[in-house]
Each structure stands twice: as C-alpha cells, then as structure tokens.
C-alpha cells in the first residue's frame, strides 16, 4: 500500500456530508424527544425527578425545543440541502470538506448548548435560549457554511433552470440569517419591544425556515419517487412569493393581548390569514402531483411519511390562520392549545416530511436497501398515532384552560380537570419517543449491513474470485 500524495483524494466522496448530517440529525431527534418526554412527565407528575437542579422543567423545556429545532429539524434540512442541491444542479457539492467540518462543529455546538442550559446559563428568550457566544458559533460555523455551500452549488450548476426546491433553499437561508440576527439577545431589545422581537423571531423561525424548507423537501421527494412532474410551476411561484411577502409579517399575532401598537396587531392578523395562500398552494401542488400514484402512499415509506406531513399541513394552516385572529385568540392564548398547534407544525408537518426525506435519501446515499420495512412501518404508526393522541390530549386540555380563563372557574379547578389529559399526553408522547429509537436502530442496521451482491451477479463474482 503506497500512500503517496497523488493517490489521496482531493475532496471527500460526494454525499459524505449529507450522510453525516442525516445520522447526526436522527441522533439529536432521539435525544430531543427524550427531553420532551421527561418534561411532559413533569407536567403530569410534578414530583418526578424533583430536586435535581439540572433536570427541572425550566432546563428540559428549552433543551427539548432548541435541540429538536437546531439539532433535528435544521440539521435534517442541512442534510437535505447537501443531498438535494447537487442532485438538482447536476453537479457536486461546492465544498464537501467545509460541509463535513460544519456538521461536526454543529454536533459539538449542540453538546455545549445543552450543557449550558443544564447549568442555568440561558437568555430567557424563547427558541433562542442559548447565549451570545453560541449565537456567534451558530452564525459562523453553521449558517455561513450552509449558505455558502447552497448558493455556490446553485451558481456552479450544470442545469439551465433552477427547480423550485432550490428557490426555497437559497432564499430561506438568507432570510433565516437575518431573522436570527435581529431576534438575538445581542440586539439588546428592551421593554415591550423585547417581547415583540421575541415573537417576531419565533414566528419567523417557523414561517421562513421550518415550514418553507419542509415544503421544498416535499417538492423534491414527491416528484422523485412518483416519477410524476410537479403539477404546476405557476402554483409553485404563488407559494414561493407569498411566503416571502406575507410570512415574514405576522409575528405580532402572538401578542394580541399585549400593549403593542394596535395597527401592528391588525396588520399581523390580516397577513396571518393570508398565510393560507402559500399553505394551500403548496398542499394543492403536492397532492395533484400524486395523481395516479396514490398506491405509493401505502407502499413506499418515503411517500407515506412525506404525504402524511403534507396532509397535516392542512389542519395546521387552517388552525394557524384563524386562531390568531382576535375573535379566537383571546380565548385560547397561552393555553395548551398553542402547544398542540406548535407540535402540529414541527412534528406533524415538518418532521414527517424530513423523515420521508431520510427514508428516500439515506438508503441511496449508503447504496444499500433499507434494513427493515416492517420497522419503518412501526416507526410510522408509533409516530403518527403518538402525535395524533398527543395533539388531541393537548388541544382538549387547552380548551379546558381556555374555559377557565373565560368563565367563573378557579385556576386549581382547571388544573384538576386537565390532569387526565396531561397523563394521556405522557403516554402518547412516549410512543413518539420510542418510535424514534426504532428509527435510529433501523438506520444504523441499514448502514452497517454487509454489501450484498445481487443474485444475477453472484456467478460473475464467484468466477472472478475463483
């Protein structure tokens, strides 16, 4: 074995970064859901793990939210971007080494972030609990490499047009970077402006990053697996431009009861209803692309997951568009209804689409078939039933809290009434947690399975060996 310089690869094998990112994301998904599961038990049984300072609800909640957003969803997005951008541009990733380094630094950053939370070092800004050194870390080691790789790959593409998924990838990275900076604690917002910017940031993380990039992934997976072309390029335009136009504006609808300018509330509320335009354009486009291929919904895990996510986007957006209007918001604001709605966005829509992308892309990246389709089905039903039960329990308890808020009913009476629903949320929640460990196991077994020689080539392989 000679290891001279000429035989060393000049760049890593294409797909290295995507593979690493997919696996890291799945591991963080498993960890993040465990944080959530523990926090959920505390909501039902407050004495559980009581007295352990680094396992209080105040630590578990930000750890859960920030780990699933930054560790699972965003890293799965990065994996999808690293996989889909070169595929759609008919070229290789601009800089594979940069991407791989970024993913390892990303993993390290998540460990540091969770450690600081356990030590009580946090900003108190929702979805942005990490402190300013981690802000800088995320900006320079995660966002900039991701943006560079995405934009430069598109710039160096070998195709003429740019497919719709790439519009979203390229534009959303730009917008989320701006949102991230403006929403960070380093900006020093204070007074009621601090509350407003917290929600402006929090809503835009969903509206300009989590939901549109999920949609972009669905725009790739569905046509790719079904073999149908995307139903309408024009509807795609409506989706994209209305996201850029309306989805960056409704942050104030989280503060309908707060003393912020009234014009801002009305503006946010109207643009909040207009979100129905991109949402329904997307759902329509994807569901019509399925024409003639609906049997894949039950046959192909990638389609099953992606379509379930797309279908969850319908109640998600109808709920989201109307619950933020003043007529409904005063009743359900601050209740578990909102927690259920947030899980519909992050778990019901976004996560299902990303898991679909994992089931599509990871076996292809590894060059091996999925280890077990049966396990994939167990994963699907554990997550789907777990999520729907969880959502129902939280929505019901949210309505109980809302009734207590509006009628002559004591706060403690409300807590007693919602306790059974809190227990149900624990049970369904842990169904989701266990499902993700099946997912991880399935993917590890897929990756470590020996390479099998197809039946037809066995004779050739034996002859060559003999």
């Amino acid at each position: 074995m000679s290891a001279n310089a000429a035989s060393l690869p000049r760049d890593l094998k294409p797909g290295t970064a995507a593979k690493l990112a997919f696996f890291s994301a799945i591991v963080w998904f498993c960890i993040g859901t465990i944080y959530g599961g523990l926090a959920r038990i505390k909501m039902a049984y407050p004495d559980f793990l009581a007295g352990v300072p680094w396992l209080t609800f105040g630590v578990l909640r930000p750890s859960h939210v920030d780990t699933v957003i930054l560790g699972w969803i965003t890293m799965a997005f990065a994996a999808a971007i690293y996989y889909m951008t070169p595929a759609l541009c008919n070229t290789r990733l601009w800089n594979e080494k940069l991407a791989v380094a970024s993913i390892w630094l990303w993993n390290l950053g998540l460990v540091v972030m969770n450690a600081t939370f356990a030590g009580g070092i946090m900003t108190g800004i929702k979805y942005h609990e990490w402190t300013w050194p981690i802000d800088m870390y995320i900006m320079f080691f995660i966002m900039v490499p991701l943006a560079l790789n995405c934009w430069m790959t598109i710039l160096h593409r070998k195709t003429k047009g740019i497919y719709i998924s790439l519009w979203f990838f390229a534009a959303c990275i730009l917008m989320i970077a701006v949102v991230f900076v403006l929403g960070s604690d380093d900006m020093g917002w204070n007074g009621i402006a601090s509350a407003y910017m917290t929600w402006w940031y929090a809503h835009n993380v969903l509206g300009l990053w989590i939901t549109p990039v999920s949609a972009a992934i669905a725009y790739y997976t569905i046509p790719k697996v079904t073999g149908n072309p995307l139903y309408s390029h024009r509807i795609g335009h409506i989706h994209f431009w209305s996201i850029v136009g309306f989805y960056s504006t409704p942050g104030a609808h989280h503060l309908m009861a707060a003393p912020i300018p009234e014009w801002l509330k009305s503006f946010a509320s109207v643009s909040g209803v207009l979100i129905l335009i991109p949402a329904l354009a997307f759902v329509t486009n994807v569901l019509l692309t399925m024409e003639g291929k609906w049997h894949l919904f039950v046959e192909n895990p990638a389609i099953q997951w992606t379509l379930t996510g797309v279908l969850f986007a319908i109640p998600l957006n109808v709920q989201g568009a109307f619950q933020q209007t003043r007529a409904i918001n005063w009743y359900i604001h601050g209740t578990n209804w909102i927690v259920a709605h947030a899980h519909m966005a992050l778990l019901g829509f976004s996560t299902f689409v990303e898991v679909g992308a994992v089931y599509y892309a990871l076996p292809r990246l590894l060059g091996k078939p999925l280890f077990s389709v049966a396990l994939a089905r167990w994963h699907y039903w554990m997550t789907a039933i777990g999520f729907m039960g969880f959502w129902t329990a939280l929505t019901a308890s949210g309505l109980i809290e809302a009734a207590a808020k509006a009628t002559n009913w004591s706060f403690s009476g409300m807590l007693i009434a919602e306790h059974p629903y809190m227990v149900a949320a624990v049970l369904f929640g842990w169904m989701i947690v266990v499902g993700q460990w099946l997912f991880l196991y399935n993917m590890i077994r897929t990756a470590t399975a020996p390479v099998t020689v197809p039946e037809g080539r066995k004779a050739v392989a034996t002859a060559a060996a003999g």
Binding site: T56, F57, G58, G119, I162, A171, G188, S248, A257, P259
Partner: protein
C-alpha cells in the same frame, strides 16, 4: 461558470434580489416602524420606572451558582452587568429556573381582570430585558403577585414546597397545584426571587 447560459444566471440573481427587496420591505414595516414607535412613544409607569432601576443592565447571560454549590454570592454574574439589587437578582433567578415558561406576567382582558387585577400599559415593562411577559399559562399570572400575596414568609414556603403549601391551605385534590418543589434553591436565591415577586405590584 454560471448555469447553462447567462440568461439563467441572470434569473438567479434577479430572483434573489427580488427576495431581498420584498423581505427588506417587510422588515421595515414589521420591525423598524413598530420598534421605533415603541421606543419613542412608551413612557414608564411609576412601577415600570421603579423596577427598571432595579434590573441589571444586561440579563442576557444568566448564571449564578446554578448547581447550588454555595460558592457564588448573591450578585449577578453576567456579560456586562455586575452586581445589582436583590430584586434585580431575583429576576435573574426567575429567568434561570425557567419560571416564565409556566407563569406569565401579563394579565389579559378576560376574567383575569377579576382574578389578578387590571391589565397594564406598555410602560409597566419599561426597559425590561428580556421581557418575559407571556408564554404558556400553566400557573397563575404573576403580574400583580406582590399585591395579591404580600407575605414574604408565605411566598418562601410556597417556593420551597408549593404543593404541600397548597394542600395545607385546604386543597381537596392532589392536582390542585402542579408546581415542582424548589427547596434545593439557596436561601439567597429564594430570598431574591421572592423579593422580585413582591415588587410585582
């Protein structure tokens, strides 16, 4: 090399430019205008002026003896702030322990008015940073808790063993409170957070 032809490269650039222009417009409308309005038009109420004077300059980095080792003093350790009053440090503890995830500090125009007092104008939160007025409402609102529960002894007992205190108050059901115990907080921290709560009038 940019795409299959110059036309395609131009379309990419024009598209990105359009995104930048539309997004910049939305930032002007939803950030620059309202934030400017909030900073210039909101004047502190008496309570807002009192509390804002107590708060540390920067609460962005909240850590003082988080693991209860007894080694850190009752002052704020943060990025730039330095020592502050007990009330200011109480807010730090309030943030550090994540109290605000379950307790809002913003009564709404519902039955809240009857239970917890009148909603306040924006000047009530004057200079508060970060502003922890509203999140989920798993526990009661604390905007006027200092008026409602003025007793320091009661509040300290309640922070330590909330569910036992609620039961001692005559609770008939085990789930009348779902607040976890904070008996493991140091006396310093407990005192500070209770002083902070009592200042919320």
């Amino acid at each position: 090399m940019s795409g299959g032809s110059n036309g395609a490269g131009m379309r990419y650039m024009i598209g990105m430019l359009a995104v930048v222009v539309i997004f910049a417009t939305s930032i002007i409308v939803t950030v620059a205008l309202p934030i400017g309005q909030m900073y210039t038009m909101i004047k502190p109420t008496a309570q807002g002026a009192y509390i804002s004077a107590q708060l540390p300059k920067d609460q962005g980095w909240v850590a003082s003896d988080p693991l209860n080792t007894g080694t850190a003093g009752a002052h704020l350790v943060n990025g730039y702030g330095g020592p502050t009053s007990n009330i200011g440090y109480g807010k730090v503890v309030f943030l550090r322990e994540g109290c605000f995830y379950c307790h809002t500090m913003m009564v709404e125009e519902t039955k809240d008015w009857y239970d917890w007092g009148a909603p306040e104008p924006a000047g009530w939160w004057y200079k508060g940073r970060p502003n922890v007025n509203a999140n989920e409402r798993t526990g009661p609102d604390l905007q006027h808790v200092g008026t409602r529960l003025p007793s320091k002894t009661y509040l300290i007992q309640h922070e330590r063993y909330p569910r036992r205190v609620v039961e001692a108050d005559g609770a008939t059901n085990h789930w009348m409170s779902v607040m976890p115990d904070f008996y493991w907080l140091s006396n310093n921290d407990l005192n500070a957070v209770v002083d902070f709560l009592r200042a919320m009038k």
